[in-house]
């Protein structure tokens, strides 16, 4: 369906390409004007720090989505990572517990990736089932009890969640580094192109010998790895573990990815845009808290914001006839 290409003003093109970023600024400006302390160094840094856990996990979730799948076990994986790193911190030392947390998550990622990639079972139920299994296992292990790190101020483990470097929260630096790495890999390496092909272009996959099964496996391993790291940030922040600590986070990560414009059926997406999605959601949460409005307002707005952003994005693309 080719419509004639009307000459588009540079402004219109700029707006449509950067709709997400513009929307983000609109939200920031709105809250800054509407409240006293939204726009303050302390609050903005706080916002950033609070966005990191979801943000780090969302980097890899973007890849999973681009390849055409979803990972519902992310919340449980983050919880697992918190559990291992916090519970074993005092028993075997921070470094071994961190490595163990990462290793366990990766094992789960491999299992997920195998069943979805090689056995070609739909990711929704598989990762849902895995989430339930993890939940049960953690319940068995902890017996539902809390666990925590003694002397949280005296361990280098605290740097993940609480540290700052030159005034910027350490987890935020990690987040930015990850976003840059993941985005570059996606757009500039053959691996990245393969991921996009796996999700969007099954013919290309068939005829160019791309092993889509391996690609899917790797995306799930990444998702598990990033969830593990996100868990380290969370565990380091709270220095405590509670069984409910991160359930539901998978939906936050998914919402951020969706907000950033990546969708299940596209085969395209951008980690940088996911980051903006994460920041938008964090700003909405923080902003509404600052405004003192009831907590459920943010959900109503969030849903509408998603639709507006994405709708705008889609409509402008449609005008250009690039669909």
């Amino acid at each position: 369906m080719n419509s004639e290409k009307k000459p588009r003003s540079k402004l219109a093109r700029f707006v449509s390409n950067h709709a997400l970023l513009i929307g983000f600024f609109v939200i920031i400006i709105f809250f800054s004007l509407a409240t006293n302390n939204f726009w303050s160094k302390a609050n903005l840094l706080l916002l950033l720090r609070q966005a990191c856990v979801v943000g780090i996990a969302a980097c890899a979730m973007t890849y999973v989505f681009i390849a055409g799948n979803m990972d519902l076990s992310v919340g449980a994986l983050i919880t697992l990572s918190v559990l291992i790193s916090v519970d074993l911190h005092d028993k075997i030392g921070p470094l071994p517990s961190i490595l163990l947390a990462i290793a366990c998550c990766i094992v789960i990622g491999i299992i997920n990736g195998f069943i979805v990639g090689y056995l070609k079972v739909h990711s929704m139920i598989v990762t849902l089932g895995m989430m339930m299994i993890l939940r049960g296992v953690m319940l068995l292990y902890t017996g539902g009890q809390l666990t925590w790190v003694d002397n949280p101020n005296e361990t280098w483990f605290s740097i993940f969640g609480r540290g700052t470097v030159l005034g910027i929260p350490f987890p935020a630096i990690m987040l930015f580094v990850f976003v840059i790495i993941f985005e570059l890999v996606l757009k500039k390496t053959t691996f990245g192109i393969k991921v996009q092909a796996t999700g969007g272009n099954p013919n290309a996959v068939k005829y160019s010998g791309i092993d889509d099964r391996k690609i899917v496996l790797i995306t799930f391993i990444f998702s598990a790895l990033m969830s593990a790291i996100a868990g380290l940030v969370m565990g380091s922040r709270t220095m405590k573990f509670q069984i409910e600590i991160a359930f539901g986070h998978e939906f936050s990560a998914i919402s951020a990815v969706i907000l950033g414009g990546t969708s299940l059926s596209g085969g395209f997406g951008s980690v940088y845009k996911t980051l903006i999605g994460v920041l938008i959601m964090a700003s909405l949460y923080n902003g509404f808290l600052m405004l003192g409005l009831p907590y459920y307002f943010q959900w109503i707005v969030q849903g509408v914001v998603i639709l507006i952003m994405v709708g705008f994005d889609v409509l402008t693309k449609k005008k250009e006839g690039s669909l």
Binding site: N43, L46, R237
Partner: protein, 338 residues
Amino acid sequence: MKKIIAVVLTLLLIAVCFTGCKGADEPKPPPTDSSTPSPNATDGKRDIPLIGMSHLGVGTNNYTTIYTDTLYKMMEEEFKGQVEFYLVDSQGDAEKQLSDIDDLIEMKCDVVILWPVSATAVIPGVRALYEAGIPIINTNSGIDVSAQKMLTAFSGPSDYNQGYQAGEAMIEALGGKGKVVELSGLAGYDTAIQRTAGFTDAIKGTEIEIIASEPADWSTEKAQTIMETFITKYGKEIKGVYCADDGISAGVLNALDAAGMNDGSIAITSPTLFASGYDAIAEGKQYASVLQSPIEDAKLALQLAVKVAKGESIEFDNRIPTFVVTKNNYKDFERPSW
């Protein structure tokens, strides 16, 4: 290759079923009593009474965990061979609880201990038990007043009273005036609602003002996030923090720590004491908390249930004592194991 995987998976599935079921705390082999089990047994009397429990959510937090562990321990140590005990867990789902109650009725329990997810949504379940002739011990969280006549007994603490006690502690700490923020429990849950109500009623008429309230869902992490934001927004205005339990106060303390405000000048009270709260009170960082022992809660409920199963009569209202713990008296109490 794939076929082998399929076969292995199926076998694994069946094996997991067997081991999983056997690994449960109370495996139930077919009863070896004289009456042969028939599919439609309407009068199949067991040789020992069966106590069923519809639980609000095992593993929700430390309190429910210790409560449940206490029940199992008591079964092992005290009541083994006298009664059988089955526990079904609604995992926080009010509708599942109704289904669970139906299952307990199917199992023909002799007594049911009920820990409701929702005070009002559980009423049809209460009615079903009542009409099936099964006595009900309502534990920990009360059901709606309108249905209480169908109960045999209530046992446990009172969330409302504890909230009230925490409120009184706050009045004491602040000398009757000051601005406080509230971090409440899971929005919509009866426990959270009662604790808020108790606190709010206690401070009525004083000059203490709640300037903000957010649900922290009993989560330390969420509480930390919310408290950080409150600190940014209100800063030094905050004189006190009311936390719906010590899981939340732990998050609040973390946030105050990070902001360098953790010198005890801000009064924190909570209606449920955890170990972390106990330590914080000892160090002077938290003002007060209320000791509500899940061990006592569970013990009382099970004891009452066994009595009823044996045909003994019991009182309707059975409260476990709750104590306000502050820096002045914490040494009188044992550090909680939860």
